[in-house]
């Protein structure tokens, strides 16, 4: 009974998502809104400003270095959380 209701609701959600996907800009279209603006600046300037020919490395380490520092902090917080969950709260000798 619970599984039947789950499958019906998930099929409804799936049809809704498919109707939304059909309204998106076509796959591979060069005039899509995602490709206007910042992409031309990154590809044109990254070899001269940073000296790296890997554009993605130049984006995440030079133009957006502070966000990558936050992500390294997330990794550290994950390790601290796992240690505190498994070893925390007990008095060790």
């Amino acid at each position: 009974m619970r599984k039947a209701i789950t499958v019906v609701i998930l099929l409804g959600i799936g049809v809704l998502f498919m109707l939304m996907v059909a309204e998106m800009p076509l796959y591979g279209d060069p005039n899509a809104p995602a490709h206007q603006g910042i992409m031309q600046k990154y590809i044109a300037d990254s070899a001269r400003d940073t000296g790296a020919i890997n554009t993605i490395a130049a984006i995440i380490i030079d133009y957006r270095a502070y966000d990558t520092l936050g992500e390294a902090t997330v990794l550290f917080v994950a390790v601290v959380a796992v240690t505190a969950a498994l070893y925390g709260g007990y008095e060790h000798a």
């Binding site: 959600i13 993605i56 966000d67």
Partner: protein, 123 residues
């Protein structure tokens, strides 16, 4: 019909939606806690596919600057997804640590049995 033509052209987004529904169904249906965590991981992977597929330009090469290439693929969505992958790994690790704690406390990892044991213990 027009909708079928557009869905067939956007087939990578359609595959991402199907993966999302499969992951969601796995998370809701099974009782085992490890299978629920696997379902959450499948949902994360479907979102990564969706974002990276947005960045494709027809006729474009990989965004490593070199000679003789006229059109590059958009590098910005791929750079955003690197952060998302790290967050997915951290979340899965913490969820697994909580499953270890639950097993130590209740002796089982079946969600229905844990709820029954909790209601019996605090009755």
């Amino acid at each position: 019909m027009d909708i079928i033509e557009r869905l067939w052209a956007n087939i990578y987004y359609l595959a991402s939606v199907i993966l999302f529904i499969i992951g969601f169904h796995t998370m809701l249906t099974h009782n085992n806690l490890l299978k629920k965590i696997m379902g959450m991981n499948i949902m994360d992977t479907s979102l990564f596919l969706f974002f990276v597929a947005i960045g494709y330009i027809r006729g474009g090469q990989a965004p490593i600057l070199r000679e003789g290439v006229v059109q590059y693929v958009n590098p910005v969505p791929s750079a955003l997804i690197l952060t998302g992958i790290v967050i997915s790994v951290s979340f899965t690790a913490f969820a697994l640590a909580l499953v270890v704690l639950l097993h130590r406390q209740y002796g089982t990892i079946d969600a229905d049995k844990i709820i029954a044991l909790r209601s019996k213990r605090h009755a």
